[in-house]
Every structure is written in structure tokens, then in C-alpha cells.
Symmetry: C2
Subunit: 186 residues, 2 copies
């Protein structure tokens, strides 16, 4: 951030009075500009025991496989965001089940929410955001062609939990250089 969104002057970085961390502050109009983590909402859609994955048509990680997920927009709930992203990326209408993973991706300032979801009918299609969309058995999951470490963790946990028959909420913390930590919320 270089310029103030309210008056167009150059911003500076300093700790505002009563605060304890540096912010972008406008010396002209006094506006303090806060930057906060963004939410990624998505689904793990299941049909007949198979998982729906999308092959990305856009950067980053064009050509790699992922779950349908994307940035939550203003004016919607987290579940609405997860449903919308699944419709936009996979042209699939899902029924949201439970929240399955909450992942803090610290080094990119994102929080990812993945919901378990039912895909009642095997209706899906590529879109502007996906080159290819298909259902995968566990044995077919393209582990070496997944787009994101966060998605690898979600899928790994899902197949483990499926064998146990329980899907408790998982808190996952991912930071650039650290091993991901997973915490079960039972």
C-alpha cells in the first residue's frame, strides 16, 4: 500500500496511538488502514464415496488439482461462499454438511474453511476457473498433482477419518517453514 484510499496522499507506516503494531497511516487525513487475513471457503464434495476435484484453469498452480474453494465475498455467509465457489468452479450444486477443517495459513494471511458436502447428483462440468472436473476414488487421488499443501492435508485427514467413521473438526496451522500442525476439536 502506497497511497491513502480516502484522500490519495502517500501513506506512512507507524504505530497509531493506543495501538501496538505498525499500520499504514495517512499523514494528511489521519485514516488508519488495517490489513487483515482473508477467508477461503470451499467444499469437499462427495458423490457415491468419490471426491470431486477441479483442475485449475487459473494461476496460481494452473493445471494442478484442488477442491473447489475461493475467497469469501462481502455480503455472504461462510456456507454460502463455499456453495458459490463449488458452483463457480465445478458447476456443481452441493448440500453442505459440517465444517471439517479450519486452516490458518499464517504466511499468506489466509484462513481456509472446508465443509464436507454431498453432491446428490453426479452433475458437474469445467468452468472458466477449471480445465477439468471429475470424481476420484481414494486410490485415484492425484497426490503428486495437488495444487496446495492445505488441500493435501484436508484429503489426507478425510480418508483417515472415513476409515474411523468420524469427522471431527480439525484445526490446521500452516506456516512457511514449519511442519503443519493438526489439532482435533472433538
Amino acid at each position: 500500500m502506497k497511497f491513502c484510499t480516502q484522500c490519495g496522499e502517500s501513506v506512512e507506516r507507524r504505530i497509531p496511538e493506543g495501538d501496538n503494531r505498525e499500520r499504514h497511516v495517512c499523514p494528511a487525513c489521519g485514516t488508519i488502514h488495517y490489513h487483515n487475513p482473508r477467508i477461503i471457503a470451499g467444499c469437499l464434495p462427495i458423490h457415491d464415496g468419490k471426491v470431486l476435484l477441479c483442475r485449475r484453469a487459473i494461476e496460481p498452480r494452473l493445471g494442478y488439482w484442488t477442491l473447489p474453494a475461493g475467497f469469501m465475498e462481502n455480503g455472504e455467509t461462510t456456507e454460502a461462499a463455499a456453495r458459490r465457489e463449488t458452483l463457480e468452479e465445478a458447476c456443481a450444486e452441493v448440500e453442505i454438511d459440517t465444517l471439517y477443517t479450519l486452516t490458518s495459513i499464517v504466511h499468506v494471511n489466509q484462513v481456509q474453511l472446508i465443509y464436507l458436502a454431498q453432491l446428490p447428483q453426479p452433475r458437474f462440468a469445467p468452468s472458466e476457473e477449471s480445465l477439468e472436473v471429475r470424481l476420484f476414488d481414494e486410490a485415484e487421488i492425484p497426490w503428486d498433482e495437488l495444487a496446495f499443501e492445505t488441500i493435501r492435508q484436508v484429503l489426507r485427514l478425510y480418508f483417515e477419518d472415513r476409515r474411523r467413521g468420524r469427522f471431527p473438526l480439525r484445526h490446521i496451522d500452516i506456516d512457511r517453514d514449519a511442519t503443519p500442525s493438526v489439532r482435533i476439536h472433538d
Copy 2:
């Protein structure tokens, strides 16, 4: 938003190519400015069966009672944010237990995460953000002096669940004019 953060020119509102909603776009440098919901993280701290509440020293709702919670910052996990806010607002060190409520507050573009937390020692104090901090029995909760509808919902559910002895994750949707909807994730 009136001016571009990257070049200082006046922004305009239009739908970028490949998008499906209006954004602030800079006609000079082409930057698309996205605005997304922010996360509020906080705790419901329990000591000896009592709940820790803070009386707000800052607007909005100065003088009203609330749970310790505030905006998640870049570079931290959701749990770290909840612990930090509890330390900043109540000078209390808690041990996070499980995620208890996830509230989409649609009309203000916020997602609130409240964790159940243990306060091992009854150590807490007012701060720059709180006029008063104290532990409340269920019978003492100041229902008519709570700062936010979201917090009222969380406390109401907590005391219900305590009688049942189970604390499943709750998804709460709140919009300006609608009755809050609560959904249990078991």
C-alpha cells in the same frame, strides 16, 4: 474507497473481465481492489463455572459487556488471535479448548469465531480496552447490558449446552433484519 492504493489515482467501480461483480478498479494502473470479510476471534473464558466478561472502554458500545474478542491480525492463527485478544482486553491468560461458534455477520462483513477456553487462575484486570473485567455466574449475566447480539447468542447457547453437557460447534448467521439462524454441527 476513492483512490488507488498503488498509484493514487481515482478508482472507478466496474465488473472486471472474467469476474461477475463490481470491484474498485484503477483506470490508470489497472489494479483491482478486492474487499473481503474480516475475522473477529475471541474466547468464552471459564473459571470455576463462571464466565469472564469485559465492559467496553471503547466505541462501539462503550460501557456494555462483551466476551474478549477482536479483529484477527495478519501473521497469526485464529487461536493465537483469540488468546491475544483475551490478554489485551482482560489481561487474562487462557487455554483454548474447542471452537464453539462460527458466526457470519452478513451486513457488516464479519465472521466471528468464539473458542471455549479455560481460565486456570482467576487473574484478570481492566485494560485500555476494558473499563471493568469480572466473572459472572449464569444468574448474574447482564443480559440487558450486552454489547452485541452475536455475544448474546453465544452466551445463550453456552448455558443451554452446559445443561446438556455437550458443546457442538454452532454455525450462526446474522443479517440486519432477519432472525438469527443457528445450525448445529455435530
